[in-house]
């Protein structure tokens, strides 16, 4: 019996340590703490081209993460990318004429959505749509445009 | 489907094969209640297999095994387990649970099958240990026991649930004369005191014959002789006499079947597995 209860203590210790380790991984090592789960309101935005944007990519306002990309699909009517954004509930402050743009962090980093607030009094609510959008910059298009402009300049001269 | 009530075990037309080898071929055997039956036969005649068939651990190819009016191999899982609670089996080497002490081994079936309070389990287990004379060894571990002691502990465990039948698988092999005497006496006294029936599988002819009420000699998958020890001893089959008296040569030849001597030593003998 004595040995049995010592064994129980060890097993208890093992399970407790394991759970502490899991908790440590969840809270300290991952973004769970900053990831307010599902709490938030959804708005949509349509882009001509989303480039390499992925689901769960951050949404930033003035560099601060205010939400995450929830869904990405093609709108069958407009043939544009319909992106669902989930903004945290503690930021019910975005004017209805807020604009959204897709940026890349650094030259090769991941893509995120940057919001620029507008001037309206009314704010975006759940289910609203951001109509002012700027697509991701596609490098090939940029180079093509540059060459075209150069060629046009040459013709002028 | 009727069963003769004087017989605890009835085996009818039992056939069992292992691979291509026929172990039992249309075996018939019945064992009366309250007696000690010794099943004897040379090594490899399937004596242990017979016990496993009775206990329902193996299924026969054909035939039936009836124990206490129940057809063992027609029983559902739960009914078979209920029947097994009334059977004890003593394995050749005891089969004690090596991570439990002697006491816990004997208490094991009680703990598994009853919800008795701890004090009662203690008393019952100690009583059974006392019956085999090992009450003082309760705290030893199976690894510390001699072979004979391990078998006695296993015997105490086998009778823990007060079964109606105890099966002994080669209880005498490899025991010194004193242990042997103890085991022989234990089997007899337990059988009579507890009102059990016992099946004893052995090829130790003298010991088994000395306590058995009935002896069955198996050979070639059949019972070749049965009766009291005296009757079997006086059998007119030369084979049975060779077995019972332990003669080196007889119907069972000394030589394992081999090619003729001349071929092996004078001619070009072949060695198995070689290739040209």
């Amino acid at each position: 019996m004595q040995e049995n209860s010592m064994r129980d203590v060890w097993v208890g210790l093992f399970v407790a340590l394991g759970l502490v380790a899991l908790g440590f991984l969840a809270l300290r090592v991952s973004n769970l703490a900053s990831l307010s789960n599902d709490a938030g309101y959804g708005v949509t935005a349509q882009f001509d081209n989303i480039g390499g944007l992925k689901v769960r990519a951050p949404i930033k306002l003035a560099g601060v993460v205010v939400g995450r990309v929830e869904s990405i699909a093609v709108d069958p009517q407009t043939f544009r990318a319909a992106v669902g954004l989930r903004i945290e509930n503690r930021y019910p402050i975005l004017p209805t004429d807020t604009s959204a743009a897709i940026y890349t962090s650094g030259l090769l980093g991941e893509q995120y959505i940057g919001l620029a607030p507008g001037a309206e009094e009314a704010v975006l609510k759940d289910g609203d749509r951001i109509s002012l959008t700027q697509s991701s910059i596609v490098l090939e298009n940029l180079i093509g445009q540059f060459l075209y402009n150069k060629a046009a300049e040459g013709e002028k001269q | 489907m009727s069963m003769d009530d004087t017989h605890l075990i009835e085996i009818r037309n039992l056939s069992f094969r292992r691979g291509a080898r026929m172990i039992f071929d249309d075996l018939n055997l019945s064992i009366p209640r309250g007696s000690i039956a010794a099943i004897m036969g040379p090594s490899g005649t399937g004596k242990t297999t017979l016990l496993k068939l009775i206990g329902g651990q193996l299924r026969p190819d054909r035939g039936e095994v009836w124990v206490d009016g129940q057809n063992v191999h027609k029983l559902r899982h739960s009914a078979l387990y209920a029947l097994r609670k009334r059977m004890g089996m003593l394995f050749q080497h005891g089969a004690l649970l090596t991570d439990l002490s002697v006491f816990e081994n004997v208490a094991f079936p009680l703990r598994e099958h009853t919800r008795l309070p701890e004090t009662m389990i203690r008393d019952m287990a100690l009583m059974k240990l006392n019956a085999v004379g090992l009450r003082g060894a309760r705290d030893m571990m199976p690894a510390e026991l001699s072979g004979g002691m391990a078998r006695r502990v296993a015997l105490a465990r086998a009778i823990a649930l007060d079964p109606m039948l105890v099966m002994y698988d080669e209880p005498f092999t490899g025991q010194d004369p004193i242990t042997l005497g103890v085991l022989v006496r234990l089997i007899r006294t337990l059988n009579d005191a507890l009102g059990l029936s016992s099946i004893l599988v052995s090829h130790d002819v003298a010991e088994a014959a000395s306590i058995a009420d009935r002896v069955y000699v198996l050979a070639g998958g059949k019972v070749v002789a049965s009766g009291t020890a005296d009757e079997v001893n006086r059998s007119d089959s030369p084979w049975v006499r060779q077995f019972m008296q332990g003669l080196p040569d007889g119907p069972v030849p000394f030589q394992y079947p081999a090619p003729a001597l001349e071929d092996d030593f004078l001619g070009q003998g072949s060695t198995k597995g070689g290739c040209a």
């Binding site: 097993v11 973004n31 | 206990g55 387990y81 089996m89 649970l97 090596t98 094991f108 079936p109 296993a154």
Partner: protein, 259 residues
């Protein structure tokens, strides 16, 4: 030549037969599992053998793997001038891959082989047959508690491994190599995703744990009941578990991160 082909065929056949028995065994085991849960005493005893006794090797290995990751990661990252990403490199490698995989391999060597040997010995000394004759189902009494305990212990061990590894990386990176402590943790926090990384890592370790303990108990039950048979079965447990874990790891990684 023909003999070689025949031998190959025979090996393939026996391997397939073993695979078949492995899965039939699982079918027999599943109904016994609820019964095992009703006997917490037995599960706790097995948790001691499987979990507590594996803790030492898991903690020590985790710490060393973390230290090595810290050193190697730092040396590579410093050439790109991004040593502050050390935390996320260490944490991601551990949580996604090394934690579950190395824990499973160590688990097979420490606990799996011990279980195979124990069950194999119980088989060869007729303890399992003895239990059956005492009307005690070895599936419920012996196999199920071990399976449940292994399944429970594995994610905990993997979490311990990863956590200790992250701390080991912190110790070497921040303590010795001069990475900023704040950067270490904040990089981890922004780079490691709870669902994509932590949850998937735990799922991996659950699957690996189930497979490792499944193979261990099966090999024990399936062994030839002799001393040689038991030792072969023990070897097979370690080899087969390692192969299964590494193969499954590839498949699961492909499924989890490529969608």
């Amino acid at each position: 030549m023909i003999r070689l082909l025949a031998a190959l065929g025979q090996r393939a056949q026996s391997a397939l037969a073993r695979l078949g028995r492995l899965h039939l065994f699982l079918l027999g085991l599943l109904p016994a599992l609820p019964g095992g849960l009703l006997r917490p005493r037995l599960v706790v005893d097995q948790l001691f053998h499987i979990g507590v006794l594996s803790m030492q090797i898991i903690l020590v290995s985790g710490a060393f793997v973390g230290l090595v990751l810290g050193l190697q990661g730092y040396n590579i990252l410093i050439t790109y001038g991004s040593a502050e990403s050390l935390g996320v490199v260490v944490a991601l490698s551990l949580v996604r891959e090394l934690g579950p995989v190395i824990t499973a391999l160590l688990f097979a060597g420490r606990a799996g082989s011990a279980i195979t040997a124990e069950i194999g010995l119980m088989k060869s000394t007729e303890q399992l047959a003895g239990m059956e004759m005492m009307a005690v189902d070895p599936m419920k009494r012996v196999i199920a508690p071990r399976f449940i305990a292994g399944f429970m212990a594995m994610p905990l061990l993997a979490a311990l491994f990863s956590a200790v590894g992250v701390l080991g990386g912190f110790f070497i990176g921040v303590g010795t190599l001069g990475v900023d402590a704040g950067a270490y943790w904040s990089q981890i926090e922004s780079g490691v995703d709870f669902y994509d990384d932590i949850v998937n890592g735990v799922i991996k370790s659950l699957v690996f744990g189930a497979v490792a303990i499944w193979i261990a108990v099966f090999e024990g039950l399936d062994c030839v009941p002799t001393a040689e048979g038991v030792s072969r079965a023990t070897t097979r447990t370690v080899v087969n578990t390692s192969l299964a874990v590494l193969g499954l790891d590839f498949i699961m990684t492909a499924l989890m991160f490529n969608i």
